[in-house]
Amino acid sequence: MVLSTEILGIKNALAEKMEIKAKKAAAQGKPKYPNPVFWRCKDNMDWKAQGENLKEVGKICVDMFKEADIKGFCMKQVGRCKNDAARVALEVKQGIEMSPEERKEVFLYGERTLGKLYRKGDMVPVRREWRGAADTAYDFYRWGKMWLMLLTTFSRDLIPALNSTFYYRWMISYFCCVGFMDKNTSGQKGSALKMSHLMTYDIFRYVAENLVFLAKGDKKNGNSSQLNKKVVLFDEMTMGQIMAGFPDLLGIPYQLMPVFLVSEIDQLTCVPYIDAVESFGLPADTCPVPSSECGALVIDALPHMGSCFISSSMPCDGSTMASSYMSRRFPDLPVYHLTFPVRYEDEETTRYAVDDIKGCIKFVEDVTGAKWSWDAYFKQMKRFNEETAYELQKWEVNKTDYPQIIGPSYELFRKWNYEMDGGADPRVIKTFEKVNDIMMKAYEKREQAWRNKMRYRGIVWSCPAHYYANFSNWLANCWGIDILVEMESLNFTKVLETEDKEEALMDLARLYERMVMRRHTNGGYRNVVDEMWRQVEDWRAEIIIMYQNVACKNMATLQGVLDDTCRDRNAHMIWIEHDLMDPRTVSRKTMRDKVNEYMRTVMHAEPVDPTLVDFDDELGM
């Protein structure tokens, strides 16, 4: 059913009123985020089409049910129950056999070994982790809070949001986001746990809100033309700072939710996209990020929405080329190609980048009718600068003998809520403040981020596997390798200009040129090789976890030089191959085995948790 023009007219008038109200609130200095106008944009669902889609989905479900081995499934569940019973009995027995001191230790500080949480063939751990009484209580509190936030956010426009699950398989993967939270906090306690939860909460709020907007705008679903007029889609990892001057528009990183970020939650999400685009003819040696994005376009797994698309040449050759697939799928969507210079260290090139930014701003103005606001831009960049200061504070603490903020949440929060958000969301600064408070207090108390487990100072270089986003967590839990920082975090930190307009654009260009991955892989080998050794020294890293995304040509082309320089320095560098979004090429287990082998044979080390050396999570989310 499509709403009549009359009703739509009334709704549009209401939306306009809301917009004026929101602008007034913003003028008073209390802007709500996201702009309430975006939420209030009315949907225009075609109910007949939804009915037909539901019918088709229903048929598929019936077919799946008919083809399912119900008896086998039931037998498997019985087996699982038996296994659970045996495990519980064993755990009780182990508890009884413990000395009172040991029991007290476990009660207060949690279980010592985590390998028993994994079971072959399971998608999720057999149970949640016991972190000690206080931390487990806190963990459940945050778990409940996360669910509440997710339900509240989705309920702001529940029908299109839930309806997305009938169109896009990636939406289903988001149902296990709370499990992702557990993976990222595995083994963490005390202040480290609190900080991780705070950051993970913001990550999922960012995800949930964008998911609702995607559902609202999608022509197959919410079909909100009001919202689509305000939506500017961004390519892949292109940061949102350029939208700071358009406070009345909504910038959405287009492929982030359906492809990029979800692949960190569910390791199998991108497999169908990769297969589809390879069947289409794309060689298998290309980076899985643009491949998956193109695959998603080939099988129509991306929402059809927005007023325009800002494609970009970042961060690599493959990403550059994916934009032509986008144009092919949505030929009517106006596109601006934001193409920053590759040799960015040469300041001669920055002028070109500024011209390109100006072209992009004009394009957005022309397409949407919005006007660039310097006041809004400077206001957001001031907040972003403040966030940068907090980020630098984290680095300072982690460089000391008492690093506090370790684990995947730190890197993920930085990527999504700091770099991609770019100071747009005022709520994020509060999280920065809270995390900073906890971190500084923990530092003053000389707390251990990983209690009694910290053995080696580690640094991660090159791009990590999306399907093993919490690998640093395993490194800490199993071998006591504490990842102090990752290459992808070490990007631009200059305070951005907030007064002079021309210089502000120069700074914005410099920021984009030095965005995640691009900062190191572009502009010359020194940005990867020399920079790595500089950082290793700066952070006093004892082990380098050197990821090798088998399809990343920018990094692969330097493997010999990296090896040569490593030998010259007699450093410990562990090469870990992976295929970014395709766990079939290199599994998580294979990645772990590379570390296990190195630690045993070269370092002659004993694991801090032997139960994590070998376990099966092949089918895990």
């Binding site: 493959g318 550059t320 994916a322 040799r343 330097l558």
Partner: protein, 396 residues
């Protein structure tokens, strides 16, 4: 057809990067400028006493050492060049003009410096940043890059006169070569061409890899010979064009022609389209900006992502296929080439579905001449084109 008088000589010139004519130029006191990519305007490497050599790695065998440095999932052209450089095969160069157009070639240039592959005192490797689109500010950017990153370096390091007069002189010589090559190229449009695709490929390659002033007499003679040459009576079974990434091995073209086809146009890197167009200069503006516009506008590199360039590439392939009366198009890419990997996969569908051309889509290694699999695919493609022709005739 009767063999071309200089064909064997031309073939021998392609056996080494440092060939007989390059050696002759060195003896004449010339400076040898290496480059690999169309993004670098060839004419600028021929100013004053410089001559350009587009780098190839003929007779490549093992590429183990470069694979150690660059890994095995990387463009074999880049690896083969690095291997040759490590072996000392590019010691004859006085400068290397690199562009940061694709990451793998860029790393080749960087390794050239890191591994000190050339020990000449004033030898330089320069890296230019090239734009992805053809806006006005992109032209300005490219011009500035060429001034600062190439011409100034040539002047400062080697004392080359890079004045406007010298650039115009280089363009005049370049145009002389282009006019001959264009005239020869036009012969490929005939129903029964007097030149094979292989021969044209060889001729075109020597224009890229030999000093212009030394190769010109041979080209002139060959043109005169072709004008009188009589074609074979038997027509080729099918006429095809090649579109795609780098092919510096004429044996690849030969393999297609051995399968019964005639290659009638070469829209690939190291091909003549683009590359052998006359550069028209006016006197009311410096030569450099005009050259920049010429190269950027004629470039068909898949790296250009702007919509108008994407469309240009498709329209060019369509136009060439029509002008040269091709029956089908072969889209090819060097294995591991990201730009052409994405382009080939998509455009091979577009050209077939929207433009109606029969398309063969392949990826290949640098050393492809021994590939039985490719040979079979070419044979199958030729047969399919023949069947289409028969069916078309039947309908008439």
């Amino acid at each position: 057809m009767k063999d071309l008088k200089h064909l064997i000589y031309f073939e021998s010139l392609l056996d080494n990067a440092d060939n007989e004519l390059v050696e002759q130029a060195k003896k004449d006191g010339k400076l040898i400028m290496g480059y690999t990519c169309y993004h670098i305007p060839e004419v600028l490497l021929n100013v004053d006493n410089c001559v350009s050599v587009r780098l190839r790695a003929p007779r490549t065998g093992s590429i183990d050492i470069s694979t150690y440095y660059m890994s095995n999932y990387v463009c074999e052209y880049a690896r083969a060049l690095l291997e040759r450089a490590i072996e000392g095969g590019f010691q004859f160069l006085d400068g290397l003009a690199g562009v940061d157009a694709c990451s793998m070639m860029n790393r080749f240039y960087e390794h050239f410096g890191i591994l000190k592959c050339n020990t000449k005192e004033n030898f330089f490797v320069t890296h230019l940043d090239v734009p992805y689109k053809t806006e006005d500010f992109s032209f300005n950017h490219m011009q500035r890059q060429l001034e600062v990153r190439l011409l100034d370096v040539m002047h400062d390091k080697l004392g080359v006169d890079v004045s406007d007069a010298q650039i115009r002189k280089a363009v005049a010589e370049h145009n002389e070569v282009c006019k001959i090559m264009q005239e020869i190229s036009e012969m490929r449009k005939a129903d029964n061409p007097v030149i094979t695709g292989y021969e044209f490929h060889v001729l075109n390659l020597v224009t890229y890899t030999c000093p212009k002033y030394l190769i010109l007499p041979y080209l002139k003679e060959t043109l005169a010979e072709l004008k009188k040459r009589k074609p074979d009576e038997k027509l080729p079974r099918a006429r095809v064009g090649i579109v795609g990434s780098e092919i510096d091995d004429p044996e690849f073209t030969k393999m297609i022609e051995d399968a019964g086809a005639r290659v009638v146009f070469d829209r690939h890197c190291f091909g003549s389209i683009p590359g052998r167009e006359v550069i028209e200069l006016t006197d009311d503006e410096d030569a450099l900006p005009q050259i920049v516009r010429h190269y950027m506008r004629t470039s068909e590199c898949a790296r250009y992502i702007a919509d108008e360039k994407v469309q240009q590439r498709r329209d060019t392939a369509d136009r060439l296929a029509k002008e040269f009366h091709a029956d089908g198009i072969i889209y090819e890419q060097m294995k591991y080439c990201d730009f052409w990997g994405f382009e080939r996969a998509l455009v091979s569908h577009v050209m077939a579905e929207e433009y109606g051309w029969p398309v063969l889509s392949i990826d290949r290694l640098y050393n492809a001449k021994g590939s039985g699999q490719l040979r079979t695919r070419f044979q199958a493609f030729v047969e399919s084109l023949e069947i289409k022709k028969i069916q078309k005739g039947g309908k008439k």
